[in-house]
Amino acid sequence: MTQHLAKIALTDMQAELRDQAMRFCADKSPIAKVRSLLTDDHGFDAAVWAEMAALGWLGIAIPEDYEGLGLELADLVPVVEAMGKHLMHSPFVSTTLAAQAILAGGSDAQTALWLPKLASGTVATVALFEPTGAWDLNAVEGQTKTFVMDLDASELIVTTVKFEGQTRLALIPRDRITARRETIIDEMKRSYTFEVPDVTESDLMPAKDAVTALERIELVANLLQAAELSGAAMACIDYTVDYLKTRKQFGKVIGAFQALKHPTVDAFVDAEGARSLLYAAATHCEKQGEGEIAVRMANAKAEGALSFAADRSIQFHGGFGFTYDCDAQLYRRKAMFAASQFGDAAFHRARLAELLL
């Protein structure tokens, strides 16, 4: 029934991108850099962003007609996985979501205007959530948007609006918006809230494509979140294992205690499964209907894997785990925040039940 969705195809390009991204992120995002960016206004290094743009990463899933590389969604996965693994934040995901929204639902003029810019490094974001807490992207009720990532660094905001009773997508330049930064649990990220200004038809994407565009955003967001969380889960386990191999208590390296060893193994087994589901999701994400199944499975599993791994990492680091200096909290907070965006694991399971049963 779902067996064929477990097949994984990895192109040479994806393998290459993966190597490149892992090297790049390891190089540009050592933990000291991650920590120094926690208090940075934008939470990322503009110079590194420029390098990513130069590598062509922003154009990966944008067609060549719009100066992108014309690759596939699947090719974004190894890049975001590497970012997750090295806790590297940038507006990569925000910008990608905006670009995919425009690609799926923009008018010819909007597409022609914005995609080349986004492919070359102009920062953009999406504004989809409201204080109602609904994860259903069609449920647009008011003017207030929340959890708008990287807004302050963006030139363009793709936002949902209620227009003449219909849910539509609008393209709003940054300078038409007054935003307030929100305090969120993941301190590596930057989130904002703003009031959607009055829009006219010229701000809007064509009405007929709104549903498609929203579905596209949700699919891509969940796929990339799975990639980020899956990468982070492996890193979190490596970080924990390193500690378990060196820390001594009662005259013994603590990793020899089964009370710590076995749950760490369980976390590892979970994380390996998450990675496999991630690459299966990358392989099948473009399939009508089934793509959603593969992607939600990967995201639910990855969220669970990182949550468990990081929760145990805090615990197994003992007193140090309770400090801000221990990286376990960075991983745990990342999982907590991800769960709040686009639905948590229980939400994905409920959707999967509808799709599968």
Binding site: G133, A139, E182, T183, F250, A259, Q315, G318, G321, M336
Partner: protein
């Protein structure tokens, strides 16, 4: 002497009148959560006021700042505090650890010198048992105390010193003999001053982002040999005795409470208000199932406390319930925190300080803070060893 009943009435009336309401900051629920000067100053004033009114140390002798009444008097005063939802007592180590120890085994001079300041909160005490390299293994403490004439010279470091930056004194476990027959026999116990040359504290930032602990560094710090409590080499014995006051196995605490009893069912209130995916969280059957699971667990903990009082129902193993309660409660709190995040749905992404968050990020912070209890005071893993070995009689894990 005033009757216990009358004293209880007075206490109740006093706390009803004086308990502060509407404080402009998050009230710490435990003495370990005091992270800002504002919180510290407020709670120090409060303890001072409670003591001045006669409701702290009511059973300690008047000569040492107490009220000269009985334990029963203090107990009703403590109950009045709880009943009125009064803030916690700040000087936890003084009230629960150092004070009872000094009252029990100290010299007359030590009692007069130390006890009044403990009750008034003028003299804050901290605890120096854990070390960075020996978190779970107290008996392996390595901070050195070398005798030099009338003084001991201290070198080393202590960690998880709650209120270390505010403290005037520390109860200190230090190694006076490197050649003792076993690691315990080399330890001695000191009432050590903190504001002397060679003692420095660094604040430790918690995973919540807040402060509350310090690390204390000793570099050729000299303290008077008088600071020794008990004999050299008896440090482990004195430290274990001290822990027994805190665990209630010996009487002597100055009263009041230093950890506000949280209601294990408060998550139900959250559930009733929480909005998940745009709908009341309680409309989601999966969340209901998980919530009821936690409610049953909470009820089991409360029923355990009740059963512990009934001898025929604990006759197989009278110590089982007290010994397992720490593991059960702290893990319950952690799991409940995780559930709360799910109940909050999208709102769980906010954090303390965000006006759009529910109750200023109370549950996010609460989940993260829960680790202080699953780690501190013996990790959950060590608790399972203790229960397995002492209650079930399983062989020791080496």
């Amino acid at each position: 002497m005033i009757s216990v009943e009358e004293f209880a009435k007075q206490a109740d009336a006093w706390f009803a009148e004086h308990t502060p309401r509407e404080v402009p900051f998050m009230m710490p629920l435990t003495f370990m959560e005091v992270g800002t000067d504002e919180q510290f100053d407020f709670l120090r004033d409060w303890q001072n006021k409670v003591h001045a009114a006669g409701f702290l140390g009511a059973h300690w002798p008047e000569a040492y700042g107490g009220g000269g009444l009985t334990q029963a008097h203090q107990d009703v005063a403590t109950r009045a505090m709880r009943k009125n939802g009064a803030p916690i007592m700040l000087n936890a180590i003084g009230i629960g650890w150092a004070g009872p120890l000094i009252l029990d085994t100290g010299s007359e001079d030590e009692k007069r010198r130390y006890l009044p300041g403990i009750l008034s909160a003028d003299d804050i005490w901290c605890q120096g048992f854990s070390e960075p390299d020996n978190g779970s293994d107290l008996g392996n403490a390595q901070l050195k105390a070398v005798k030099d004439g009338d003084e001991y010279v201290l070198n080393g470091s202590k960690i998880w010193t709650t209120q270390g930056n505010y403290a005037k004194y520390m109860i200190l476990l230090a190694r006076t003999n490197m050649d003792a027959p076993n690691k315990y026999a080399g330890l001695s116990f000191f009432l050590s001053p903190m504001r002397i040359p060679g003692v420095e504290t660094t604040k430790i930032r918690k995973l919540t982002g807040e402060f509350g602990f310090t690390q204390t560094f000793f570099t050729d710090a000299r303290i008077s040999a008088d600071c020794l409590m008990g004999e050299e080499g008896e440090g482990w014995k004195v430290a274990m005795r001290t822990l027994e006051y805190e665990r209630g196995a010996r009487k002597g605490e100055a009263g009041g409470y230093t950890i506000s009893q949280t209601n294990p069912l408060e998550v139900v209130d959250l559930a009733k208000r929480a909005i998940r995916n745009g709908k009341p969280a309680l409309e989601d059957p999966v969340m209901r199932d998980r919530l009821v699971t936690q409610m049953i667990e909470a009820q089991a903990m409360m029923a355990n406390r009740e059963r512990a009082k009934i001898a025929p129902l604990v006759s197989e193993n009278p110590f089982a319930l007290p010994v397992l309660s720490k593991l059960q409660f702290t893990e319950y709190a952690r799991v409940t925190g995780e559930l709360a995040l799910e109940l909050e749905g999208a709102q769980s992404g906010y954090y303390v300080g965000e006006r759009a968050s529910r109750e200023d990020g109370y549950w996010q912070r609460s989940y993260l803070n829960a680790f202080s209890a699953t780690i501190g005071g013996g990790t959950s893993q060590i608790q399972r060893n203790i229960i397995g070995e002492r209650v079930l009689g399983l062989p020791k894990t080496k």
